[in-house]
Amino acid sequence: MTIGIVVFPGSNCDRDVRWAMEGCLGRPTRFLWHEERDLSGLEAVVLPGGFSYGDYLRCGAIARFAPVLQEVLSFAERGGPVLGICNGFQVLTELGLLPGALTRNEKLHFLCEPSRLEVQPGHCRWLGGYDACESITLPIAHGEGRYQVEPERLKQLEDQGCVVLRYADNPNGSVGNVAGLTNAGGNVLGLMPHPERACDPVTGGIDGRRLLEAVGS
């Protein structure tokens, strides 16, 4: 079964996701140009990292209105697995599939480094291959990754087990150390770190493999 990878003008991790899925895991993929409306035959959809539409206005703000995303929205509402990585996470919050917003890093720097994370897989379908409280390392590469949500909503998300990935050292100032979130159904996951860059030992670690292997294996 095929994994769809959305390509916006300005996406730059779409090919990384394809390399990881096909080259490391042997899973077929199909690129979905932002004007595409046909998701037939896809088992899961990945929104990759990059700078969709130049991140004009706000990260993910223009992408939210792309024709392909109206189809991704229906796909997710039917329970289809959707993964948003970095800019993809930003798009998922703008789209309303995940709550909150990603804002400018606390110290303003673009951060490009390995980041230690704690996994709390709970009901998230993408994280079934990880143990509760497992510590993993994935690369981060973002300037606007500071997760922001009202304190009451954060408490609610924590109580519902939706905060599935937290930074051990909170490099960007996110509330609640949030690095990744799932929805109530567990089929949507948004995260700032890049699992597709941690699927081959040559890139310094393979902690991202189980995440990308989770669906349809």
Binding site: L57, R58, A61, F65, T93, E94, P99, G100, A101, T103, R104, N105, E106, K107, L108, R146, Q148, V149, E150, G173
Partner: protein, 85 residues
């Protein structure tokens, strides 16, 4: 159809940290202006739109402000609308 001009001011909600604003405030002090106690960076969007009447123009500009130009999770907006004729 009448033409209207709108100016939408988008600002970060007070509860949201503005690190770029803080950095700019620090630069103000380095310029020798010591008294800046608060500095927040937002954005202004100017647009013109055609609409059959003022109420419609107002409603459309509000829709744009709320759903596209700002993200209500982190931002507030204000709108000024003028008829250009």
């Amino acid at each position: 159809m009448p033409l209207y001009s709108a100016r939408v001011q988008v600002s970060l909600r007070p509860s949201v940290l503005d690190p770029a604003g803080e950095a700019t405030r620090a630069a103000a002090a380095r310029l020798g202006v010591e008294g800046v106690t608060r500095l927040r960076i937002g954005k202004a969007i100017e647009l013109e739109l055609e609409a059959p009447d003022r109420a419609t123009a107002q409603a459309q500009a509000e829709l744009l402000s709320d759903r596209l130009l700002s993200n209500p999770v982190i931002e507030n907006w204000t709108l000024e609308l003028q008829e250009l004729g």
